[in-house]
Symmetry: D2
Amino acid sequence: MMTTMRTADLTLHDWAVAEWLGAGSADLATEDLVGRVVLAGAFQMLCPGCVSQTIPQLTRVAATFPRDRVAVVGLHSVFEHHDAMTPHALRAFLHEYAVGFPVAVDAPAPDGGPVPQTMQRFSFRGTPTLLLFDATGRLRRQVFGHLADLQLGAEIARLEGESGSTSLEVGAPSLQEPGCDESGCRR
Amino acid sequence: MMTTMRTADLTLHDWAVAEWLGAGSADLATEDLVGRVVLAGAFQMLCPGCVSQTIPQLTRVAATFPRDRVAVVGLHSVFEHHDAMTPHALRAFLHEYAVGFPVAVDAPAPDGGPVPQTMQRFSFRGTPTLLLFDATGRLRRQVFGHLADLQLGAEIARLEGESGSTSLEVGAPSLQEPGCDESGCRR
Amino acid sequence: MMTTMRTADLTLHDWAVAEWLGAGSADLATEDLVGRVVLAGAFQMLCPGCVSQTIPQLTRVAATFPRDRVAVVGLHSVFEHHDAMTPHALRAFLHEYAVGFPVAVDAPAPDGGPVPQTMQRFSFRGTPTLLLFDATGRLRRQVFGHLADLQLGAEIARLEGESGSTSLEVGAPSLQEPGCDESGCRR
Amino acid sequence: MMTTMRTADLTLHDWAVAEWLGAGSADLATEDLVGRVVLAGAFQMLCPGCVSQTIPQLTRVAATFPRDRVAVVGLHSVFEHHDAMTPHALRAFLHEYAVGFPVAVDAPAPDGGPVPQTMQRFSFRGTPTLLLFDATGRLRRQVFGHLADLQLGAEIARLEGESGSTSLEVGAPSLQEPGCDESGCRR
């Protein structure tokens, strides 16, 4: 079920990250994200709904909002089939899927249990889980499952609005010839 | 091409409406929309991109944002095949497609020309055209073609933010059994 | 419900056609279709499922099978909102949707009733209805609703097989660069 | 690029299989497939196009054609990132994606090279590759990339036709209430 957690006290600083992988991960630390709205998608590389829906949605968000105002990151929170979803395998996955944002590896439980540390602290019910942090680093929204683009776009914009003005750009394919096509009808 | 018009001086009061049809149209006047953010989709009932994309998107917006804060309406701006897209035919279309929001019929040109009055005043380049008005009725955005849900959700939220706080609700299907399915993987 | 009719005695010669419209309709008579497998899609121009699914599927079939072996046609069988779905309006629809196959207008009932003649003779339960005729003109399959592409492709091929050998051509976009993309991974 | 290979002499007996995994794989040997039309999809578990398109298509084929006439199998032909796509990891993948057909693991090259044996013998250009064998086990079609459902359904039916009559069943959701919905319009 989609759930909103009691998120009052959790922040980006509560993340436990073993390492950062993928595009833009060099020298990245979790603290570097503070100052921007942060959309994080917790996933497992062998979770079908994560692969077919969450990762493409994170990619769309990264393409829609300016990077200096909204940060998009993945969080690899593996709680099953650990030996099939190692950081090494994740690296191959990120390469094959051409994932364009950095991904944090959730730190393994110190007691050797299956649920990694960030997943435990934030009480994820499974993957995918979306997390929205405001520009101060405070967790404002946590959802197990999926959030429609309209809703997600609105929620990001609201958090952006709290920290100052926004300037979204529009880009889209041209419609030039008179007549109708898939896109529309021109005069 | 997607275009942002010079929209400084246009408002909802510049609409020329012959009649309102469809769900929620009884006793509706354009002025009644002022006080809310307004998303209007100008379309033609035989425009393929309008039918396959714009009307479903308007329906999603109406289901996502609270009706007392964001109004969604259609505008039937016919500039070709007028005798196949009469208000009478539009009524059948709205019924068959179960369109759930009111639709304004753009007033025909007084000189008998093909382009209706609102389309002329707002310089639509064709259909679909999306129009966003802020809660004071001022046109803030006009786009020929399509706007992605993420972008549209963000723009609506920004206009909402200008006129006070928002309270979006989340609703979504349940994920209950342990294991993976299309939606995700549960502990 | 999807239904298979008792089709033993019905043939293409039982169609009652008021006129043929659209691409390839000049001088076309129903009898001209005999000698080929015929896929006909009965639809109404304001039937949402017909527009979003059946017409695109007919277009795909026309692009997949050689025209001299498999004929694809539409049949406009209007049983409601007659004054919004006239042959004149249908002509505008076929133009706006760029329909690439000929469409027969089902002949109105002689007694002025709402259900046209072919629809009555073949006992359509509604629209869309798919009809498959073998190369002798005999009705072999009638389905109310939709048939998946895999199933439809198989059924057309079986009827083709009855009347001699087939030679399907394959065409598809190239995958050329090494590495992975949406389509696959190359060596 | 989609290619048709020179397939005259290759048969199912040319497969080199290290082991069979997944649903229906117990005691399965490649020879057991002979006597039925065989659709095989060669894939890698981290190949995006294989996961998003080929595996769902194989699942649809398995659901459309009777199992005693058409066999559907996967072939895991790994030529890159071998340590992330081991048989052990594949087992987790097949479980998480609920793959409902057996999958052969292509036998590693004896010289330790990256390209497995079946992939070499059949000269795959990459993954996905679709292979169609007739009921005698002879390779009749090999395609690198994707084949549309209409085309694939037709090709399977033609091979079925060579080995005797077919009896496809139709199953589909009901349309029961009068009026229109996504599927169609009922009388």
